[in-house]
């Protein structure tokens, strides 16, 4: 039997240290006022943390093709879900608003 990869403890410890550092960074950056860049920074750091978890804790770094195909397929469908839905909502101003709620804020600004 071909042995599965055994990842050195050092690699796990490194990934853990990276994740903790990024968590501290994202929390700290939230208190720095940077307008839209607050959101960009928070999401970029979240993606970086996800990659650390997937590559090292979930062993993607040591895996073969099939796992990658499944991950890419999952993220691709998620992208389709978000992009198509968001493009409808934000280009057509058709989302129903409950009475008494007033118009949605960003729609109001656009009109």
């Amino acid at each position: 039997m071909k042995a599965q990869t055994i990842v050195p403890v050092k690699v796990y410890a490194g990934a853990f240290a990276g994740l903790i550092a990024l968590a501290a960074l994202t929390t700290g950056l939230a208190y720095v006022h940077m307008e839209i860049w607050n959101t960009v920074a928070a999401l970029t750091i979240a993606v970086a943390k996800m990659l650390l978890v997937i590559l090292f804790f979930m062993h993607l770094r040591y895996d073969r093709g099939m796992t990658r195909i499944v991950i890419i397929a999952g993220l691709l469908w998620l992208t389709i879900l978000i992009v198509l839905t968001a493009s409808d909502v934000f280009t057509r101003s058709w989302s129903p608003i409950p009475s008494g709620w007033g118009p949605a804020i960003s729609v109001q600004q656009k009109q």
Partner: protein, 231 residues
Amino acid sequence: MPPVRRSALGPEMTATETRPRALEEQFESLDAQHDARKLGMWIFLATEVMFFGGLFMTYTIYRELYLPGFEQGSHLLEVRWGALNTGVLILSSLTMALAVRSAQVAARRFITIGLLGITMLLGTAFLAIKFLLEWRHDYAQHLVPGINFAYAGPYAAHVQLFFCFYFFMTALHALHLIIGIGILAVLAFLTWRGRFSDQYYSPLEVAALYWHFVDIVWIFLFPLLYLIGGR
């Protein structure tokens, strides 16, 4: 059939057959079985991405539509508890990975069981912080939609919508964590019974994939609910 006796070949081998006991008949080798099980879990996780993805997307769209209300709601959450829970879950992912590794390198059973136990404890600590500190605080502040929501500021309806998302998403995540803790309890029991070895540990590996995925969901929930847009 004569009773099957354990041989000196290890816990997964029997005297009457050369195939490992844990090897199901449709697989040629434990390695192929291991890969198939991992792939199955990855496919399940891809469906989970869509499951949570729908919520993340809906949250993002309503946040965009009702931005001031959602920002006010976000500012009513306590960042320190969200950040603490992030650390707790990341640490639990480390101990989970080390638990799998301890089986891979044929460490003594109590080490694997101990690491699984620590992982379960950290998961429970996350839930305790979430339920007993955060949610209780939210309840005391009258921020629970459908139960005692009584926010008086402007955009109150939009703030209420934010809290609907907040409670539903964190509850769904907590449910995943509770299921994960249950799975780890079963695996700790099976480890104690000697069911795993350095040749056969795929249930541990597959459970670890699930556990790390639940960690990733929180990695996105934390900034989306507590941080984005700044404090």
